[in-house]
């Protein structure tokens, strides 16, 4: 064991300080990254590296107060599993031992090693402190990518362990296992602003340019610590990754809505009207012009009737290019029914309708509309309808108001967008729930 508090890195000669003398067995040099054995009387080099100084969210040597106890960040390791990496800060207080601050996916957790072994209820469920903890995923291989600072065990770059995470609400139990040992750690969510305030740093962003690694340490002492008094709500937060995918999907959906609405803005409408005899002959009116100014646009054609009931209007539209006389045909039905049955009164349909024609090429168009009105009887009332609809005009006329304009939002497209955006987050959430 190194006798003093300070020694020179055998890799680069830089002066290093041991903060947890007596506990620390391995130091990763903050200047060159070399890993040094300090458990033996001489500082001996285990692995030499020549790394750039790491920039850390919490510069080592920084102190902060969490739940009434002041902690000093003395070690940092970056680890990864299946392409995702995260930061683990080792905190030390000589009177209180060690804790962890872990940052994964932008979320912080505060961890401590367990003294008692959780009881295995099954392969996937353990009991600890009267709570049941359920495993989330299959065991994952985690590898240590980088280390800086001092550690109470033999830290090694490229060291792999097999890890599993058990959940109870938003609290986690992490179980890491290698050939020689099994380590359990309890992790509680902690508010990231609180971490930032406690350690006087920006917890989300990067870090101070000098990496802060020991900047000024030993000269003026640690920076004044501030305090975190509250932990994040331990029930509300789901798994960070799933939550962020929902956030991203929501954001993209909102953006898609805005752009679709912007491109679907209506042009100047062409309007017209028709008076239709119910059961009478079909009538035709021409509206125009409708100017399609972009290479392709949608055209929305709307029809509204005055008050009527138990009638329908067949609408046939032809969008005729004034120059080429090419026609695009579409149709719609305006219908409104009402009646009374065993469940009471009911209505169906509406007094207005609209239809949208997609992908209309640039041009100036007339809209030729042909409409015919028909009556319907539910059979309970004396039926005015006869087999020959041309014979009589039993129930008067319907006054139609018609309009046609470019634009209109293709809602079917928007539904497809919603499905494409939200299916993956829902799938991830389902998989987590199933895995738990």
């Amino acid at each position: 064991m190194i006798a003093g508090r300070k020694f020179d890195c055998p890799g680069c000669g830089g002066t290093l300080e041991i903060r947890a003398a007596g506990y620390t067995t391995t130091v990763a040099c903050r200047y060159c990254g070399s890993v040094i054995d300090v458990a033996s009387p001489d500082a001996t080099l285990i692995t030499q590296y020549h790394q750039a100084v790491a920039e850390l969210a919490i510069p080592l040597g920084t102190r902060g107060t969490i739940a009434g106890i002041e902690w000093e960040a003395i070690g940092w390791q970056s680890r990864s599993s299946a392409g995702e990496s995260w930061d683990e800060f080792l905190l030390f207080n000589p009177y209180a031992g060690y804790r962890w601050l872990v940052r994964a996916d932008g979320e912080w957790t505060f961890g401590r090693a367990l003294e008692s072994l959780p009881e295995m209820l099954s392969d996937d469920v353990v009991r600890w402190q009267d709570a049941k903890w359920e495993v989330e995923d299959d065991p994952a291989t985690m590898v240590t990518i980088r280390v800086v600072g001092e550690f109470y065990w033999r830290v090694k770059v490229d060291e792999t362990v097999t890890g599993r995470t058990f959940w109870s609400g938003s609290r986690q139990l992490s179980c890491e296992q290698n050939r020689d040992e099994v380590n359990w750690t309890a992790l509680d969510p902690i508010d990231s602003d609180g971490v930032g305030k406690a350690f006087g740093i920006n917890p989300d962003g990067g870090s101070r340019p000098d990496g802060g690694l020991g900047g000024g340490l030993g000269s003026s002492g640690p920076p004044p610590g501030k305090s975190i008094d509250h932990f994040a709500d331990t029930r509300s937060s789901p798994r960070p990754f799933v939550r962020w995918t929902f956030v991203a999907a929501l954001f993209a959906a909102a953006l898609a809505f805005i752009t679709m609405a912007a491109f679907g803005g209506h042009g100047t409408p062409a309007t017209g009207s028709l008076s239709l005899g119910v059961g009478g002959p079909e009538r035709t009116v021409t509206l125009g012009p409708v100017e399609v100014k972009r290479a392709w646009q949608t055209v929305t054609i709307s029809a509204a009737g005055d008050e009527f009931a138990n009638k329908w209007v067949d609408l046939d539209y032809a969008l005729v290019d004034r120059r080429t006389h090419q026609a695009i045909e579409a149709g719609d039905t305006l219908e409104y029914y009402t009646g009374t049955d065993s469940d009471g009164p009911w209505t169906e349909g509406s007094h207005s309708t609209s239809t949208m024609i997609a992908r209309v090429p640039r041009g100036s168009y007339d809209v030729v509309m042909t409409a015919s009105a028909h009556a319907w009887s539910d059979g309970t009332a004396p039926s005015p309808v006869v087999d020959d609809p041309w014979s009589i005009n039993p129930t008067g006329t319907i006054a139609l108001t018609l309009s046609a304009a470019t634009g209109g939002v293709l809602w079917g497209n928007f539904m497809v967008v919603l499905v494409l955006l939200f299916a993956p987050p829902c799938f991830f959430a389902w998989r987590k729930m199933k895995g738990a």
């Binding site: 990754f241 539910d378 497209n413 967008v417």
Partner: protein, 53 residues
């Protein structure tokens, strides 16, 4: 930020790009129109009357 999350954000960007292109060029995968249904309203066999029973 994790690789998986970045991949998902890229996916969101692709979907948004597709939606924007479709909106700009007035394209829809649904038979020519949306809203009040295609040509012929409910379909060729429509005779009129409510669906209500």
């Amino acid at each position: 930020m994790s690789g998986k999350l970045i991949a998902f954000i890229v996916w969101c960007a692709l979907v948004w790009t597709g939606a924007t292109w479709a909106a700009y060029s007035a394209w829809s995968p649904f038979a020519g129109a949306s809203g009040g249904g295609g040509p012929g309203g409910r379909g060729g066999g429509f005779y009129g009357g409510p669906m209500h029973k």
